[in-house]
C-alpha cells in the first residue's frame, strides 16, 4: 500500500536499533521504515525479541534509534531534548500498558487527571476532561475508587481513560489485553475500536493475541527486526 508521507502520524525512516549487552552488539531493528497514516489502527505482532516493544518505545520517544529518524506528528524526535520529549509525550501521546500501571495511591479520577496536571488547565477544565474520558470508558460511576477496588478490566479502562484524557494524536498500546480475561479483553478492544472509528485516534497496538490483532485495520508482522508480509486474512487462515 502506498502512503502519502505528509499524512503520516508516525514515520520511521530507515531506523536501526542495537543494544549492547556484555560488549556484544544485539541488533533489534535493522533499516526499518514504517508509515502509520492518520486514523490508522495498526497491530504489530511477532515473536518475543522481534523488536515490537522497541518499535513502540522509539515511536514514543522513550528510546532513541541507533541510526535513522523518527518523526511523530510532523516532529522529528531526534532533535528534541529529554525535557522536550517529555513535553511532546504529554501533549501528543497516550499510553496503555499490559499491567495497566495505575498509581495505587490515587483514585480512578486522580489517575486520569495525572497527565492533565502537565497541561495549562485549571481545576474545572481538568475535571471536565477527566469526566469526559471516564464517560467514554463507561466508568463515570467509579471515579472515586482506588485501583485495588476495581477489576482488571476496569483498571485497564481507567488506564485507557488516562491515555485519552489529553486528547492525544497517537495512542500506543503494549499488550493491552495481555492480562485480561476474554470478556474484559473484548471490552477493551471494543473501546479501542470505538476510539479509532468515532474519534479518529491513531492507534498502534503491540499484541500476541490474534483475536486482538484481528480488530485492527492493519497487521504488521515483525521478525528479527524487519517487517515481513502478513495480513489479517493470513491470520484467519493460520488459525
Amino acid at each position: 500500500m502506498p502512503y502519502d508521507a505528509s499524512d503520516s502520524v508516525v514515520q520511521l525512516l530507515d531506523v536501526s536499533k542495537e543494544f549492547m549487552r556484555d560488549k556484544i552488539r544485539i541488533p533489534v531493528l535493522t533499516n526499518t521504515t514504517l508509515h502509520i497514516p492518520k486514523g490508522d489502527f495498526a497491530a504489530i505482532m511477532g515473536p518475543s525479541g522481534s523488536g515490537k516493544s522497541t518499535l513502540l518505545n522509539l515511536a514514543a520517544g522513550l528510546d532513541r534509534p541507533t541510526t535513522g529518524r523518527v518523526i511523530v506528528n510532523g516532529q522529528d524526535l531526534g532533535v528534541l531534548s529529554e525535557a522536550g520529549l517529555s513535553r511532546f509525550r504529554s501533549e501528543n501521546l497516550g499510553f496503555i500498558f499490559q499491567m495497566y500501571n495505575l498509581m495505587p495511591v490515587l483514585t480512578a479520577f486522580e489517575n486520569v487527571e495525572l497527565p492533565l496536571l502537565l497541561a495549562p488547565l485549571n481545576r474545572a477544565q481538568r475535571r471536565q476532561h477527566v469526566e469526559a474520558a471516564l464517560r467514554i470508558v463507561s466508568l463515570a460511576d467509579r471515579q472515586d475508587h482506588y485501583p485495588r477496588q476495581l477489576s482488571g478490566g476496569q483498571e485497564q479502562r481507567v488506564a485507557i481513560a488516562r491515555a485519552i484524557a489529553n486528547d492525544p494524536v497517537l495512542l500506543l498500546a503494549d499488550e493491552p489485553t495481555g492480562n485480561l480475561d476474554a470478556t474484559s479483553a473484548q471490552e477493551v478492544l471494543d473501546l479501542l475500536e470505538l476510539l479509532n472509528t468515532q474519534f479518529g485516534t491513531t492507534i498502534i497496538m503491540v499484541t500476541h493475541d490474534p483475536k486482538a490483532a484481528r480488530r485492527a485495520k492493519r497487521l504488521l508482522h515483525l521478525e528479527k527486526g524487519t517487517f515481513v508480509q502478513a495480513d489479517i486474512e493470513a491470520l484467519e487462515t493460520s488459525r
Binding site: A60, L62, S90, F95, M103, P115
Partner: protein
C-alpha cells in the same frame, strides 16, 4: 501545587515506614534540640541581661581569689556606679544533698536595684532587711523544695568553716531568663560568723556586682575599676555580666565541643536513615516513576516531587521532635529532679533550628533517590517487575 495530593499520598502510602522514619528523626532531633538548648539558653540569658548594665568585679585570679569587702564602698563612691552589692558564693550543704545549690551573701538594701528583673514583694523585702539571719529564695527552688515564708534553712559551710541558720523571709520571681533557683542571705551574717571564729577568710566579698548608670559608660567604668585597684594587694578584673557568665561556661571545657561532635554525628546518621527510607520507597515505585515519565512528566517534575516527599517526611519528624521538645520542657519542670537545671527550656530559636534541620535532612536524604528516579530509563523501569 497541583502535585501536592500525589506527593502526600506517596508519603502516606507506607504508613508504618513513614511513621518509623519520622520517629527516628524525631527522637534524634529531640536530642539535638535538647543539647543545643543547653548551649543556646546560656546565650539567651546572657543577652537578656544586657539592658541591666551590670558589671562583675572579681580578683584577677578569678573566683577563688580575694576581693576585700572594703572595695565595695570604694566602688559605690564612683560617679558612674548607680548601686553595688557583694555577691559571695557560699556553697553550703543543705541536709543530705551532695551538690550545693546557689547561695549568695549579698546586700538586702541594693540587691533588687542591681538585679532589677528579680522581683521581691516590698513587705517581704522589709521583713528580710529586719531579720539578720533572714533570706530570700527563688520561686522555683522554693516550689521544688517546698519552702514557705518562715521556714528554716540550715546550711553547713563547706568552702567557709561556718554554718548558717537561715529563715525564709521572702520569695523572688521573674521571667524565664531569670535564675529562680538562688538563695540570698545577708553578707554580714556570714562575715561576722567568720570574724567570730577569727578566720582569715573574713572580709572577702568574692564578687562585687554593680549596676552602671548607663550602658555606654560601661567600658570606661570597667577600665577605671581595673586601674584603681591595680597596684593594691588584690588587683581586680571588672567584666560585663555577659563576659563573666561566658567565662564560667568556658570552664565547662570540652562539653561544648562534644555536643557539637555528637550533633554532627546524629545529623549524619539521620541522613542515612532517611535516605534509606526514600531509597526503599522509590525502589518499590520504579514502575510508577517510569509510567509517570512515559506519560510526559519531566525530570525536573519527578525530581521535585521526590524531594518534596522527602522534605515532608523530614519535617514530620522535625515537628514531632523539635516542637515536642519545646512543649515537653514548657510543661514539665525538670528542676524538681535536677536542682540547678531550672533554667532548662527550649528557646524558639532552637526549636525552629531543629525544624529547619529536619527539613534539610529530608531534602538531603532525598537527593540521591530523586536523582536516580529522574534519571530512570522509562524502558528499563517498565520492564522491571516488583
Amino acid at each position: 501545587m497541583k502535585f501536592i495530593p500525589l506527593i502526600i499520598r506517596n508519603v502516606l502510602r507506607n504508613k508504618i515506614r513513614t511513621l518509623f522514619t519520622g520517629s527516628s528523626i524525631a527522637m534524634s532531633l529531640f536530642l539535638v534540640v535538647l543539647l543545643y538548648s543547653f548551649l543556646m539558653i546560656q546565650d539567651e540569658i546572657l543577652e537578656a541581661t544586657k539592658p541591666y548594665n551590670r558589671i562583675m568585679v572579681t580578683n584577677v585570679q578569678g573566683l577563688t581569689g580575694n576581693l576585700p569587702i572594703a572595695y565595695l564602698d570604694r566602688i559605690r563612691k564612683m560617679d558612674e556606679v548607680r548601686s553595688a552589692i557583694p555577691f559571695s558564693w557560699f556553697g553550703g550543704r543543705y541536709r543530705e544533698e551532695t551538690i550545693p545549690f546557689a547561695q549568695f551573701g549579698t546586700d538586702s538594701k541594693y540587691v533588687t536595684d542591681v538585679l532589677q528583673e528579680y522581683k521581691v514583694p516590698d513587705d517581704q523585702l522589709d521583713a528580710w532587711q529586719a531579720d539578720k539571719t533572714g533570706c530570700v529564695v527563688g520561686a522555683l527552688i522554693a516550689k521544688n523544695k517546698g519552702w514557705k515564708i518562715g521556714d528554716k534553712i540550715p546550711l553547713k559551710g563547706d568552702i567557709y568553716p561556718v554554718d548558717l541558720e537561715l529563715t525564709v523571709r521572702g520569695i523572688y520571681d521573674g521571667d524565664s531568663t531569670v535564675d529562680r533557683e538562688q538563695l540570698w542571705f545577708h553578707f554580714e551574717y556570714m562575715d561576722e560568723a567568720l570574724k567570730a571564729k577569727q578566720q582569715p577568710m573574713a572580709g572577702n566579698a568574692g564578687i562585687v556586682m554593680l549596676r552602671a548608670k548607663s550602658g555606654p559608660i560601661m567600658p570606661e567604668l570597667m577600665e577605671k575599676i581595673d586601674k584603681q585597684f591595680a597596684s593594691s594587694d588584690a588587683p581586680v578584673r571588672a567584666m560585663t555580666e555577659k563576659e563573666f557568665q561566658q567565662s564560667f561556661m568556658e570552664m565547662m571545657g570540652s562539653v561544648k565541643f562534644f555536643i557539637n561532635v555528637i550533633s554532627g554525628i546524629v545529623v549524619f546518621s539521620l541522613l542515612i536513615v532517611a535516605g534509606n527510607t526514600m531509597a526503599m520507597a522509590l525502589r518499590e515505585r520504579t514502575r510508577e516513576v517510569a509510567v509517570l515519565k512515559a506519560i510526559g512528566f519531566g525530570r525536573g517534575t519527578i525530581l521535585g516531587m521526590v524531594l518534596c516527599e522527602a522534605v515532608i517526611i523530614g519535617l514530620l519528624g522535625g515537628v514531632a521532635g523539635a516542637l515536642g521538645a519545646k512543649l515537653l520542657f514548657a510543661t514539665v519542670d525538670f528542676s524538681r529532679w535536677l536542682t540547678g537545671f531550672g533554667f532548662l527550656y527550649v528557646p524558639w530559636r532552637t526549636a525552629l533550628l531543629g525544624l529547619v534541620l529536619a527539613g534539610f535532612i529530608g531534602l538531603a536524604s532525598g537527593i540521591i533517590p530523586a536523582w536516580r528516579a529522574a534519571q530512570l530509563s522509562v524502558v528499563d523501569g517498565l520492564r522491571k517487575i516488583v
